[in-house]
Symmetry: C3
Subunit: 514 residues, 3 copies
């Protein structure tokens, strides 16, 4: 709101002093101003909620992106399994986040460590929080769980998946988001007093809160259960286990790109807010546009860097690598998207691609197996993004988006206090997630609930746990059998009695005559 609209009939009557009917006149005028004010307030709520809701829908579409990306990146025999985990992330996340996750994260007033209001959306809506805010934050929470599912794909028991996903969405992630995003959080930049290093952490849309949390959880999961069978040969050399469909990978990546426009620009939560002089053209709407631009440029640069980098390293123009590079650029810019210049976003994307290539090299050397490179991408690039923000945050933008007089980027002349806060963030997130999720995965491992048996892994989890393969391109109704086989398969160990039937020589003929 650009200025006062309150109108006092008494004041106005005094000003009109000599006039007859001064009071009536003043009331007449002031009533109208109050109505104008109420109407403007309604319009603001309507616009801001429209903006936030549609942003939330976009962020939700990222869950579809994750599902397709994961499905395409695993082998055909585990497709059902990974897609089911993605559907359940969203579903279980919805319930747990409703019951207590949102309360832990944003319940106010509360202490610096954890929220304690709004369980089951009690007292929502109120003057600060509306249902749309819950929906938006829920979409973020399930994204974090979705990241982790990629790291432990193709070898994890479904039960383990259900347990970790609920724990992550219901407790681990909400607490982290409370620290950095709630106005009560100890490291939040929205605190009114006692800011960490006088600055607070500027993790605008969650390179740390979302991506590092998901990535580090995935790192521990994948470390504890070890690489997939066949991922490293006897001599320890890395063997690529290609995903079954690059089309799905590209589909998923583009959907994530699409959704990221809800993730980053949407994190402003409101759009109707003027910066600067009343009636000017600069306001939050402009900052939101800029955020969309920085996001785009970081991703584009990272994609191009990866393309040429991988061409030099491996000799191929590889589309799945380019997609991963793209996503790495997005994960990195997520932290600083609202407070950096577009040219800085290009630097961010360039380095993010390097970080991702480096992390992947390191992972291969350490025989760490992550089917979706989730830990490298979201953990590694996310951490770089946090550092990047502390280096390149621009004073003017920090003032507008957060508050006047805050420390800003080191390279922009803002000193090292923001960097200090951000290093703390990386350490704290790594520590917290490792302590909780590492312990959880280790516990599951010890209880034998984490990894599937070698037989199941070879046969594919779809076959053993999910009732059949994802694809049935070959229909043999004529033989009256149901299901049938998706893929032309080499004789497989299916269950205990596995006698391969002889191939049916008539099959080809029949089909052709049709």
């Amino acid at each position: 709101m650009a200025g006062a609209l309150n109108c006092s009939a008494t004041d106005l009557a005094t000003l009109l002093g000599s006039t007859a009917n001064a009071t009536a006149f003043s009331t007449y005028i002031c009533t109208r101003f109050e109505n104008v004010s109420a109407n403007l307030s309604d319009a603001k709520y309507a616009i801001d909620n429209t903006y936030l809701l549609f942003s939330a829908y976009l962020v939700f579409s990222m869950q579809l992106g994750f599902a397709m990306l994961c499905a395409g990146s695993v082998r055909a025999k585990n497709t059902m399994n990974i897609m089911l985990t993605n559907v359940l992330d969203a579903a279980a996340g919805g319930l747990f986040y409703y019951l207590f996750g949102y309360a832990f994260a944003f319940g106010a007033p509360s202490n610096a460590f954890i929220g304690r209001q709004f369980f089951g959306l009690k007292d929502i809506p109120n003057s600060n929080f509306d249902y749309s805010h819950f929906l938006y934050q829920w979409a973020f929470a399930i994204a974090a769980a979705g990241i982790t599912s990629g790291s432990i794909a193709e070898r994890t028991q479904f039960v383990a998946y259900l347990i970790y996903s609920s724990f992550l969405t219901g407790f681990v992630y909400p607490v982290v988001s409370h620290w950095f995003w709630s106005s009560d959080g100890w490291a939040s930049a929205f605190r009114t007093h006692d800011l960490l290093f006088g600055s607070g952490v500027i993790d605008f849309a969650g390179s740390g809160v979302v991506h590092m949390v998901g990535g580090i959880a995935g790192l521990w999961g994948a470390l504890i259960e070890g690489p997939r069978i066949g991922r490293f040969d006897h001599a320890g050399r890395s063997v690529t286990l290609r995903g079954h469909s690059a089309s799905l990978v590209v589909l998923g990546s583009f959907l994530l790109w699409f959704g990221w426009y809800g993730f980053n620009p949407g994190s402003f939560l409101t759009i109707l807010k003027s910066y600067g002089s009343p009636g000017g053209y600069v306001g939050q709407w402009s900052a939101i546009g800029r955020t969309a631009v920085t996001t785009t440029l970081a991703g584009c640069t990272a994609a191009l860097t990866t393309l040429f980098g991988k061409r030099i390293l491996s000799g191929h123009w590889n589309v799945t690598d380019v997609c991963n590079g793209l996503l790495g650029g997005f994960a990195a810019i997520t932290s600083g998207c609202s407070v950096v210049e577009p040219w800085a976003a290009i630097i961010c994307g360039f380095v993010a691609a390097m970080v991702l290539i480096g992390c992947n090299r390191l992972a291969e050397r350490l025989r760490y197996d992550d089917p979706l490179e989730a830990a490298q991408l979201h953990g590694g690039c996310g951490a770089w993004g946090i550092i990047f923000t502390a280096l390149f945050a621009k004073e003017a933008y920090v003032s507008e988006v957060y508050a006047q007089g805050r420390p800003y980027g080191l390279f922009m002349g803002g000193g090292g206090r923001l960097l200090a806060a951000h290093v703390i963030q990386i350490l704290v997130i790594a520590g917290w997630v490792s302590a909780l999720m590492g312990t959880l995965f280790y516990g599951l491992h010890k209880m034998g609930l984490l990894r599937v048996s070698a037989e199941d892994e070879m046969a594919g989890m779809d076959q053993t746990r999910h009732g059949g393969f994802a694809y049935v391109y070959h229909d043999d109704d004529d033989s009256g059998r149901n299901g049938g086989f998706m893929i032309k398969s080499t004789p497989m160990r299916v269950g205990p009695t596995s006698t391969p039937t002889p191939p049916n020589p008539n099959q080809d003929q029949q089909q052709q005559q049709v």
Copy 2:
């Protein structure tokens, strides 16, 4: 909107002297301008909201296409996708020409609308092009539901006929009854049914039951697919060819449902004037999105564990169907129930769906997409659910101007809403059965409904649509039999592979 009208004569009188009349009009001119600009703002905000909601609902058509494609066998993929594209296309023309007029033509009688044919004089304060677009997206969704039920065995011509009839007449009339302010059962009607009218906010009945029951009759009359029940009558599952497409379609439907349910408010800039400045239609819209989410999530989880107990598998396609069942159920009451009630709604919806599927198997009813069970069964449950759990405060806010209207039975609102909703279920069932049942029966008698057995075995893509949907094996020029195949009108989609026994399945 609060009053902003300003009368210069009144104001001048208040100022006490005639000379000040100019001053008064100076002030009043400005208030008029403010009023105008606020009104413009309202139109712009509401239209933005409605249009983007319409786009979301349209994306459901893509969701249906992918869901259907993945749920049928590879040999019928082209067929089912074509029907989905044509739903949207024919729906666009027919709904433009007369469907929208039948549904929302105003003023009209209680049974059918009679204005706005071909969008004539559409732009009015209450109806604009964006309304048409939004309602069109709804109409094609109803037709999309039905196409799932009769998939894999229906002639393409039959499809064209029923789809036009459903989108152009059957569905518009039903939506007139319940959603037009002239409709006899509408909650906005001047003479309310049971003093209440039917609260079918986004269309569990109007859209989902209509589509589901039409599908039910179609599938009943056309009969099960060959091989769906063996000689002993035991059901054999004919798996769809791609679970990936099923999941893709389901997520897209979920995405689109955020236009379907919250979008049904049609506008967002509206204050509820209840003393809380931060609370208005925008909050109700958000709440609707939340109830929708929770119902779907609960239904998905219920189905997951339910099916695990029953069949021993963690099955993703079942979970997707459960999810959609939860959405179909909450669609009716999404705007007038509390979030906790949505959880109950989803839980029961999943149970209803499992029950309907068991029943269908017993009755040897074959519905490749479970559309009748899902949209018909869960839709009917949703209508009942609304009559039980509608909250007084929300009912009065969403359907204003009639204080003391009945609300949910379990919330202490008495049984009149329930009575109206039972009427709704019966009337929709009757109307759709009478029209669509007859239509399908006539098509059946004329031999236009079901394809020949040979075609069904070979797959419609090969016999009617010029070839299979997939060609992963590229040997366009290598087959010696290439020329011959070309004569047959099709190249080969895939290598036929020797069957391998899967003892577990």
Copy 3:
């Protein structure tokens, strides 16, 4: 803006002359009016930016649509290649359009031929252009490049692709959009003076600027490199090379349809603008809704026309043809969508389907091979759309969307001047794009950079350039082999000699060593 809200305290005080404290009273009132005005202005910016940003996101989703449509329309062995080009269109387009494309297109003030401000988004935002406008126009630019990639699919070297894509997005397309869309452009309908034929070109959302540019660029590319091997047999008869997945084609088409709602209605750029009487219900919001309706109807009619037309011609109900017809209808209505009646859109779609069928017949006769029919669809239907607008533009709508007193459609009684301007547009676009892109493709051809070798083409570019096929439905981890073959490859005939070559026994081995 519906009327004046500026309030002069001096004027008001004069009017109130007799009252005591007239000045204080007037200041009191006027301050409030100014605040109201500022608030209303903020609200306008917020709404318009919300509208434009979400429209931009929708247009971006068309890139995903193109990727899926292209992927489904080519053979499986070239899927990775075509998808990579689509990802890179977006990524390279992002950088080039940021650095200079946007400046060439919309830099103002500038001359009539090319823009020269806003390089690297310098001086953005200003009172006319905000970041959201850049994002929206970027999404348009990459769409043009995406169109061309379809025409030259399956046989073009990747390097050639990178070169032409950068050139098109960075220079050729921006200059065309400057001519027709910038207020400085020589043929723009937004010029304040010296309108071309007193009218300017009404290419509202770009049938010419986007679709014809992409289509004609593709035409030259496909002409110069010639048809794919096997596309025409020895006798010159056309042989269909079917795409590998109709599901992806339908997915892509629907996504394009979805995105077109950002493309056409979004081209208004703002939504809060009243037409006609103040406070009336008719305004830009209504015109936007009408635009969405005309778009829908044109596409629907074209799809149905194609369905029945193709049924009569070929005897099949063909879904991919219907999808192409649908897109042809959209490409045609894009030019006139905002200024025609819904019934005219039906005519537009009907003729567009005919044009597409005709162009395809012609292409077959001329042995022109365009895997996605991009030149026919976007070039042919786009050109028809430009003519259509000049015939059916309605006076009232032209007044509202552009300005009072402009020439309008010939058949609506508006005379031939608009038609003259539009014929000029077609000629100029065809000439400009042919001169630049034709030369570029010819140069690449002469340098041997354009077409892949016959061996590579037969084997598929995915195999030779992109590190493997897109699909791996067949997993054989147990044998310790990586990658492997997606499809059971059958002996293939290479080139004109129709003797099937024996299967290459080394093929599999080679893969393993990669």
